[in-house]
Amino acid sequence: MSEIKEDITRNPFTVPDGYFESLEDRVRERIHRPATPFATFVMKAKPAFMMALMFAVIAGFGWLASKVTPLIYDGPAAPDDPIMAMIEEGYLESSFIYAYFEEIDVDEAFTYSLENTITIDGEIEEDLESTLTEDDMWEHLDSQDTLDWTETGADR
């Protein structure tokens, strides 16, 4: 670099003869040249066209991403932990796990969790809203009979 630096004072470029002398006239001719209708249209339409192009490119990327994502990603892998699996599947609410680790009354948390995960018919719901007691709820759950209570360890 140092040997090159010594040579930089010499300008290796030249210009055609009379270039600078004719520059004024050429620039003025361009300034006063009337713009063609097409050139005027291009000048006016260019910003709108560029903006439309930008939106099209963004939409294109979005569409491409929606097509490509299912090919390379098919959802999270099933967790090994059975409790985490139940949360993932929607059978348990995370509040249950929270209660478990925070040593809150697990039965209470589990009951809360069941209340929020079991679907109740509209007619029964109205009834429950007005007269809901703990016994009523257990009775309702018995009638549903969809859970194996021995596995849950819940105190009936």
Binding site: I4, K5, F13, T14, V15
Partner: protein, 181 residues
């Protein structure tokens, strides 16, 4: 500054715009041309960019706020025009359908307006590989010996980013010239 004042005063007087513009072209076109030419190398490209710069100057001179020298303002227009040109040229080369562009060495050999020796060809060939902004900053610093503060003002960037760009350009040039040895 006196010349700037003369040009601007004339430009603001009705009927004297052409005279003012002639003064401006006569006073600054040579310096601007050489600055541009060193960045784009080719005479026709430099001529186009110089004319575009002067036409923009004519168009926007009424908006010139006089917060810097007239030459600094013109130089800023020229540099922005040049950077945009180099960017579009880079894109054109990238997506060229006609195959590889002629190398710079071939262009210099065929260019009647270039008379550089081997070492100068190597230097410019290295510069051709730099990204547009780095190329411009390298030219301003290395050839024109401009201060980083002044380069930052012209490009409206921070001094830190200008220094970083120059550093990257310098390292690339050193590596390129080292490989050539």
């Amino acid at each position: 500054m006196t010349e700037d004042k003369e040009i601007l005063d004339a430009f603001r007087q009705e009927g004297k715009e052409d005279y003012a513009f002639n003064l401006l072209v006569r006073r600054y076109s040579r310096d601007l041309y050489w600055q541009i030419r060193r960045m784009v190398f080719d005479h026709d490209d430099a001529d186009d960019l110089l004319q575009n710069t002067l036409i923009k100057a004519w168009k926007y001179l009424p908006d010139f706020r006089e917060d810097c020298r007239l030459y600094t303002w013109l130089y800023r227009i020229a540099v922005n025009e040049t950077i945009n040109f180099l960017k579009s040229k880079r894109l054109r080369t990238m997506f060229s359908l006609t195959g590889k562009e002629r190398t710079l060495a071939e262009k210099f050999t065929a260019d009647p307006y270039f008379s550089g020796d081997e070492i100068t060809r190597r230097l410019y060939a290295g510069m051709e590989k730099l990204p547009p902004r780095q190329k411009v900053i390298f030219t301003m610093r290395y050839f024109d010996q401009m201060k980083f503060d002044d380069i930052a003002k012209v490009l409206k960037r921070t001094v830190g980013s200008v220094k970083a760009s120059y550093h990257h350009a310098f390292v690339k040039m050193k590596r390129y010239l080292g490989e050539e040895d």
